[in-house]
Amino acid sequence: MALVLTQDEVMLVDAAKGLLSREAPLGMFRALRDSGDPLAFDPALHRRLAASGFVAPNVAEADGGLGLGASAAGLIMEQAGHVLAAAPLLSAAMAAGLIGKTASKAQKDTLLPSLITGETTIAAALDETARHEPSVLATKATRNGEGWLLSGSKTAVIDGFGASAWLISAEFEGTIALFLVEQAAAGLEVDKVDAVDSRNYAKLSLKGTPAMRLGDGDAGPAITAALDLGRALLAAELLGICDEAFDRTVAYLKERRQFDRVIGSFQALQHRAARLYARLDLARGVVLAALRAIDADDPEATWLASLSKSVMTKLSRDLLVEAVQMHGGIGVTDAFDIGLFVKRGRAAGELLGDDYFHTERLARDYWRL
């Protein structure tokens, strides 16, 4: 598909922007953060987003969803990035992807409807190392009559605290399988993890925890696809974060006066801002290309997902440092909003692999190392 937005997509973006700016302005996130709410998101907001079709829009029409794919999910994430909306959108889209690709019809019918309405939240628990490295999989599944038992631990579980259920990767008799663990499951310990971006993360500990297996084949490809979806969505969110931080910075450059001039008239700052503009412009195409490729089941999708995550992680790191620097002293105060973007940008860059990880993934894949 073309690397421009369709009419439908433009309308979707407008709708998302409108709803988010009304229902989830930046101040809401700050208030949520300051409240110390352990859930770190507002379930009511999540349901309102769901009511507009913004939660897991990638569920296939055949499975009762909107079938709008990764592109729609990404465009919504991008808008969420602008206001730092704290809602479990990423986990919902990843769960939708995992369930869609692995689950039986009956399982889909049980899980997807309430996911789409925002009544339930399902978190993917795939990581076991502090630095993202999905090839590490020590969690094991064993048969237990008709069911399964899981043992192991997971970290960096996005939206994982207080979730209704978790999708957990585990090794079963030499293949990678995917399991669903419910909230009340025995032997399950869920620990909330604090992070600089004040979002919802958990670590899981599983000790003979009863689980339901999704589907029955090798879940490896579905997990890779879900990770790639998550990466492209995080890239889209980072794009929104960077756009917003950049726009705020340019506005500040036009307003702040020093040496009897607005500081935006200083050419050294102008050229630095112009470079960021150019890199943002390039990155915008990369993110859209990744989303499009996922929707087209393009074999290059996995490669483009890494490219988008690599490019956006690096750009966000550089851009957000510049945003702080150009704001000067005010930029490093907690009271000023730019720091909230810096913190979320760092975390979103880290999750599911940073630029170092993805550059290396691209290099290994490209050179078949």
Binding site: A2, L3, V4, V250, L253, K254, R261, V262, G264, S265, F266, Q267, L269, Q270, H271, A273, A274, R275, Y277, A278, R279, D281, L282, A283, G285, V286, L288, A289, L307, S310, V311, T359, E360, L362, A363, Y366, W367, R368, L369
Partner: protein, 390 residues
């Protein structure tokens, strides 16, 4: 939609067959660089007989300039058809039949600003490779500040009398005619006294002296005008409004420079890394390997940007700042790519006759030409971001 797509697939089939029959083997798999290109002109030199035939067949169909109107010697193709032709040519690695600044630069300017007489006079000659055009913009004192140019065209009734000097005239010493920016009103504010003039380089008083670059190449000349008489008919657009034409053309030039860098010609850095290092060697030098990987990431990103620009073009949604963005990033990436290629070959790539050194020494030129990258940054900060003058 479906029926247009059907048309297109029919067109593709037709193009494919025609190319199979008409593109001789020796016009395929030719490294596409300045030296291998056919540039046309009064002293045209063909690579060989087959390539001459290939050029003539393409010119016959108007496919040297596929999207120009047929009445001006073009192929009359729409954007989708032109793209298919380009894709099919790339598929069989057919050499570009005709390369020229006439096609890339002057043609678009005449189509936009020229009179019907000028179009009929000049465009077919460009399409048929009869006239090789040079571009005369920069002057020794007017580089980044192009509008401060001093080459003067005095109104002498039926002709202009041109005096002055241009520099960085691409292949000026090999060209037949030159499109120039000249000052026609020395009193007016600097952007408002400039006109766009076509000058025959065979005319008395025109002299082009080649400039030797770092790479040893002579891609440019200094061009001197001494009492050159230029017919009034050679004025393109409105007198003293030549800056409009120049701005339009500079955008074209940027887009070209922005896209040429993204697909490196010849062996890519990626393949060279495998050949010179091998898979194991890539692990032995993590720093250089990371640099190469980052250059590849830049290259892929730039390719996507090219695709996006094309899609935006089709959708009529091109940002006016894309040319500056692409020119800036692509030329810098190219510099970085050629540096990495130099490092990859170590001592062997210091060879001044080798392609690595040649490309490395030539790469900085594009960061300066076509509006230096500082000018692109000025454009972006002033126009895209609206940041104020000091």
């Amino acid at each position: 939609m479906a029926s247009h797509d059907d048309d297109l697939s029919g067109f593709r089939e037709e193009v494919r067959q025609w190319l199979e029959q008409n593109c001789p083997p020796s016009a395929r798999n030719v490294p596409q660089n300045a030296d291998n290109s056919f540039w046309g002109g009064r002293n045209a030199v063909h690579g060989n007989e087959d390539r001459k035939l290939w050029f003539e067949r393409m010119a016959q169909r108007g496919w040297t300039v596929p999207s120009w109107p047929q009445r001006y010697g073009g192929g009359g193709l729409d954007a989708s058809q032109a793209r298919i032709l380009a894709e099919e040519m790339r598929r069989i690695d057919a050499v570009n039949p005709l390369q020229s600044l006439g096609i890339m630069m002057l043609g678009p300017a005449l189509l936009e600003f020229g009179s019907e007489e000028q179009k009929l006079e000049h465009l077919p000659k460009i399409a048929r490779g009869e006239i090789r055009w040079a571009q005369g913009y920069s002057e020794p004192g007017a580089g980044s500040d192009l509008a401060s140019l001093q080459t003067r065209a005095e109104d002498c009734g039926d002709h202009f009398l041109v005096n002055g000097q241009k520099i960085w005239t691409t292949y000026g010493h090999k060209c037949d005619m030159i499109f120039t920016l000249v000052r026609t009103d020395p009193q007016a504010p600097k952007h408002q006294g400039i006109s766009f003039l076509l000058i025959d380089m065979a005319d008395p008083g025109v002299e082009a002296r080649p400039i030797r670059q770092l790479s040893g190449n002579e891609n440019f000349s200094e061009t001197f005008f001494t009492d050159v008489r230029v017919p009034k008919a050679n004025l393109v657009g409105v007198i003293n409004r030549g800056w409009d034409v120049a701005k339009y053309l500079l955008t074209f030039e940027r887009t070209t420079m922005g896209s040429s860098g993204s697909g490196a010609q010849g062996e890519g850095l990626d393949q060279a890394a495998l050949r010179l290092f091998g898979r194991e060697g890539l692990a032995r030098e993590p720093g250089l390997r990371q640099e190469i990987a980052e250059v590849l990431i830049g290259t892929w990103s730039a390719r996507i940007a090219g695709q996006r620009l094309f899609d935006q073009g089709k959708a009529g949604a091109i940002s006016p700042f894309s040319p500056s963005v692409l020119k800036l990033l692509a030329t810098e990436l190219d510099t970085r790519r050629t540096r990495a290629m130099m490092a990859l070959g170590g001592f062997d790539h210091l060879d001044p006759g080798g392609s690595a050194a040649y490309k490395w020494l030539d790469a900085p030129t594009n960061c300066i030409a076509g509006g230096s990258n500082e000018i692109q940054l000025n454009i972006l900060s002033k126009r895209a971001l609206g940041l104020p003058e000091a």
